[in-house]
């Protein structure tokens, strides 16, 4: 009988044989690859995004990224509940990658031998080979490099997909992120007029399924594999124990609240690799929202709440008009308040009385 560890590796080795076939990456139509300029990007942890041009400069390039997979316990709420996380580049969610249409994304994915599981990456932005998943399965101690052409514009999820139950398990253990493929001439409003953002935040939303002991307390496990059976049982119930932004309840509040100023335009990219969600900016709106995240479609205007389908990423552009502390939530308010899906924006600036004013402060109800 196989041990858990052997079983996990066994599954990995079968699929790894596919990855060993080099034929795919050396076939036709790549004559010009050697002539393209290369640019190396250093990824940064969410909610921040690496520096990038909104309008592309020059011809398509090969954009090189490196991501190192890290399996590690992470605390996901204020009570110290621990998830045996699997991460792209050490963060949950993985970093947002930004390129332009017709650029080539060249990712080196490293699985250090300190990890215990095989991993890969499926880019929803990529075409073929299960989004690259077939070509990128790496065991602990291996690395792989994949190149794909960013043919379609928009925000797209990427996630780990190492086969069978491993797929949802790795995803709800934190292995997802997003890539944004911008039109070469930048974003446009519904009338085709260029729009720009002053700052960008990437909010990855995760649903977690942490098993409980007989008293109802969350359990912790020495390794991810030790918790596998229990976690799968909770996952099958489809009711998450945690729904959080940026990997942890409260990770985008307080000290880590996002900052903006009145008059600034912010692009909020929101991804959910597994489950539907409905972002809402309390006291604000979505001026232009690409609900499905695909920039070839005109953005919807003046949205109150937008729907992000599980397995997709969307983008909302908003110019702050009023100062204050804003809550950005998943407007299933149970998930926002009880399960963790709340972030804050601190917005500085001058108050606009015309937009809102308290005509009369609370006082006792008038009686005769």
């Amino acid at each position: 009988m196989l041990t858990r560890r052997e079983a996990l590796f066994g599954a990995a080795i079968g699929a790894a044989a596919v990855a060993a076939m080099p034929a795919f990456s050396t076939t036709a139509a790549q004559a010009n690859i050697g002539t393209l300029a290369r640019e190396r990007i250093k990824l940064v942890a969410p909610p921040f995004v690496h520096p990038h041009d909104q309008v592309a400069k020059g011809a398509p390039k090969i954009i090189e990224f490196t991501m190192t997979i890290e399996e590690k316990p992470v605390v996901i709420d204020a009570d110290g509940t621990t998830l045996n996380a699997m991460t792209y580049n050490g963060s949950v969610p993985g970093p947002l990658m930004v390129v332009h249409q017709d650029d080539y994304v060249e990712l080196t994915l490293i699985n250090p031998d300190t990890n215990t599981l095989a991993h890969n990456i499926d880019f929803h932005a990529a075409t073929g080979a299960l989004g690259g998943g077939e070509l990128t399965l790496v065991n602990p101690g291996e690395q792989v490099t994949l190149r794909f052409k960013a043919t379609r514009t928009g925000t797209f999820v990427y996630h780990c997909a190492p086969g069978g139950s491993m797929i949802p398990w790795h995803v709800v253990s934190g292995m997802s992120g997003a890539i944004m493929v911008l039109p070469r001439d930048g974003l446009k409003d519904d009338k085709g007029k260029p729009v720009k953002y002053d700052s960008i935040f990437y909010i990855g939303e995760n649903d977690f399924y942490i098993p409980r002991d007989e008293k109802g307390n969350f359990k912790s496990y020495e390794t991810a594999g030790d918790g596998y059976d229990d976690v799968i049982k909770v996952m099958r119930g489809l009711i998450p124990t945690h729904v959080v932004f940026n990997g942890k309840a409260g990770s985008l509040t307080g000290d880590n609240a996002m900052k903006a100023k009145v008059g600034e335009t912010v692009l909020i990219v929101h991804s959910q690799a597994n489950r539907d969600t409905r972002p809402h900016l309390i006291g604000g709106h979505g001026d232009y929202v690409w609900e499905e995240g695909k920039f070839a479609n005109p953005p919807a205007k003046d949205l109150e709440t937008w729907f992000i389908r599980g397995g997709s990423a969307g983008a909302a552009l908003y110019t702050f008009l009023q100062p204050g502390v804003y809550a950005y939530v998943n407007h299933n308010l149970i998930e926002a308040v009880e399960l963790g899906a709340t972030a804050h924006f601190m917005v500085e600036g001058e108050w606009n009385d015309d937009l809102m004013t308290q005509v009369e402060a609370p006082k006792p109800v008038a009686t005769n």
């Binding site: 110290g80 109802g216 307080g254 000290d255 009023q322 204050g324 502390v325 308290q358 009369e360």
Partner: protein, 296 residues
């Protein structure tokens, strides 16, 4: 009910005593005229505080000209001794009340030490315990009022997070500064209750104040409009469905809430846990004082 907020200690006495008297009646004066239970629970350790005074920010929300104000500071004089539990009521103490049928089980599933403070208890639970414990011991026990708590907490008392900026043209400035003030405290959540005494003793000999268990008081939430002089109260509304909770910072919770994380504190750091300690009244003594002041 209009309420005058006096400026000086000598006048403050009357205002200080009135809410205490009200809360005593609310709990019910069960004093010494009841037969104690045959198997009385162990007597709680208490500290008797000598009369003294504090400068005290009143709890609640205060408006003037329709704008939020800093909570008025009052000099409060306590002219009688205050006898208050040294420790918060423990999980084991509370379990006695549950076993005797006087209390609902706490909403607490975590493994915590028996001698840790009871947590997962609402205002209603705390009052049920006070009732049961009074009957069981034959003494009169009740929750402290907010000002009694502040007096007993001494240097451990913090009070409100208040927005420091008061800008008539920009209400957001206050929201932002109070949010930042809370962030600046840099207090990380500390969820698991610990054994009694883990948070040390204050200058008055009370243990575990302002640790990771917040404490219910008998004081109702109030919203008051200050008079033009900024001292008197023009009008006020009590909401006794919400009570003042004291600890590392002051907050306000609905009576039925037993988990601090789910009530109050819309933004920022909510209480880690909710618990309580009690005050013992000596009715004869209190009545003598009150009658001397002509209040009863």
């Amino acid at each position: 009910m209009p309420l005058h907020i006096p400026r000086f200690a000598s006048v403050a006495m009357a205002a200080a005593v009135i809410p205490v008297g009200l809360s005593m009646q609310a709990v019910g004066d069960r004093g010494g005229d009841r037969q104690p239970y045959s198997a009385a629970p162990p007597a709680a350790m208490t500290v008797s505080l000598l009369p003294g005074s504090i400068v005290y920010p009143m709890p609640g929300e205060f408006l003037k000209d329709g704008r939020p104000q800093r909570n008025p500071r009052l000099s409060r004089q306590f002219n009688k001794p205050l006898e208050i539990m040294t420790y918060q009521v423990s999980a084991a103490d509370y379990a006695d009340c549950v076993a005797a049928g006087g209390c609902q089980p706490p909403q607490e599933a975590r493994a915590i030490p028996d001698d840790a403070p009871v947590t997962g208890v609402s205002y209603l639970d705390a009052n049920a315990y006070a009732r049961w414990y009074s009957e069981a011991t034959g003494d009169h026990w009740r929750l402290p009022s907010d000002e009694e708590w502040a007096f007993a907490a001494a240097e451990r008392f913090t009070g409100e997070f208040e927005g420091v900026e008061d800008d008539a043209d920009n209400p957001a400035r206050r929201w932002l500064t109070s949010y930042k003030a809370e962030v600046a405290l840099n207090r990380r959540p500390d969820p698991l209750p610990r054994s009694r005494g883990s948070f040390g003793v204050n200058s008055r000999g009370l243990a575990d104040l302002s640790g990771n268990v917040w404490e219910w008081t008998s004081t109702c939430y109030v919203r008051a409009t200050l008079a033009a002089d900024g001292i008197g109260v023009a009008s006020s509304i009590d909401n006794c469905g919400v009570h003042v909770v004291e600890g590392f910072h002051r907050t306000y919770m609905s009576n039925f809430v037993s988990d601090g994380k789910s009530g109050g504190c819309a933004v920022g750091t909510p209480p880690d846990n909710l618990g309580f300690r009690l005050v013992r009244d000596r009715p004869g003594w209190a009545k003598r004082i009150l009658s001397r002041l002509g209040l009863i």
